[in-house]
Symmetry: C2
């Protein structure tokens, strides 16, 4: 069975930014507010952080609940993992997600500053300083025959796009501009030479863009 | 965790029929051609009967691959199970699906003509002659905490709709008329008093209707 590399539920602003400027501990998405930008997913019944029984069960819920479908590993950039830059001052930082990260698989964090693997609940974080092809090989080997999720941020997705390694992308466009930040694209049309493309407007106001290899 | 009763990937004609007239062994959907009516799902990468690596990975594929998500049992009408009517002449008939049915869970077949349960691969068929509420209780007990799929046909969905037992419905409208057959609805508007409703046109030409309880 073919193992895919997939981008899922990655949200960008209408001007193509996946996060704002000046990421910090207090502002994981920089000047962008993740609660607002990701509210299309947060409103659904399947949102992992939901603590009540409510939530919508329309189109956006299909995307939200597909997050873990046949996924055996994730690859993410260091800036998704945390706000630190350069050498680690210490190894106290274990990610943004508390004691039960929502990944439930091995996670490979790209960084030039390696540190030992560690496990929180059923998620193990590994730190790798390799070319994208090699990181993908490691993630596929760890995924137990399942697909690999490319978790972002935007720079990491660009890196794997430019290396031709991504099989499918689901990018949600939030209908507001950020003006600056970490850019995924100028326009989704940049991918049309290599990918089939479907544009699916959601009743919630966002637009889902689905790409798969030609 | 709440256990839902869900209709998934049920396809009707633009005039509301889930199947044509005169179902038979040769024509499981009566005068309707299932290959054409279900081609929106058959074209996707996740279609269970796909034997090659191709297939689309756009919107329709999300619905197709959601078929088994958190499902622990199915309920179906006898006319989905087979073309026979009245008492069983014998028990040779094991359903349309060969040695590996695509359900992979217990399946409860509604019929006034009971027969012993049997197992094919990882699907076990049970035959029940109870009110919808009781059938749903049995299916939930067998579903191991997961949701229950209501598999159709249209008459069986009507029966459970009229009993107020369905939590979510995904109905795909194929843009052609059948003129006669087994009807699900005159119009999706009939459900609006009880359900939220989203209408999602697919690039493939079908329209997905999503309903969840108010």
């Amino acid at each position: 069975m073919e193992q895919l590399l997939k981008v899922q539920n990655f949200t960008v602003s209408s001007d193509g930014y996946g996060a704002g400027e000046n990421q910090s501990l207090e502002q994981p998405f920089g000047h962008a507010d993740p609660g607002t930008m990701l509210s299309w997913a947060g409103a659904t019944a399947s949102w992992p952080n939901r603590t009540d029984n409510g939530g919508t069960r329309g189109l956006d819920d299909y995307f939200t609940r597909d997050f873990a479908h046949n996924i055996g590993a994730e690859i993410m950039g260091r800036n998704k993992f945390g706000p630190q830059r350069g050498p680690w001052e210490n190894e106290d930082w274990k990610g943004w997600w508390g004691d039960e990260p929502p990944f439930h698989t091995p996670v490979f964090v790209l960084t030039h500053h390696l540190r030992p693997s560690f496990t929180l609940s059923d998620t193990t974080f590994h730190f790798v300083d390799d070319e994208p092809e090699v990181v993908l090989e490691k993630a596929k080997a760890a995924a137990d025959g399942k697909d690999v999720r490319l978790g972002g941020g935007a720079s990491t997705i660009r890196l794997f796009l430019d290396a031709g390694l991504i099989d499918t992308l689901h990018v949600t466009v939030w209908p507001h501009k950020l003006g600056s930040g970490v850019r995924l694209w100028e326009s989704p049309d940049e991918l049309l030479d290599r990918y089939h493309h479907e544009v699916v407007p959601s009743p919630s106001g966002v637009t889902h863009h689905l790409f798969w290899r030609k």
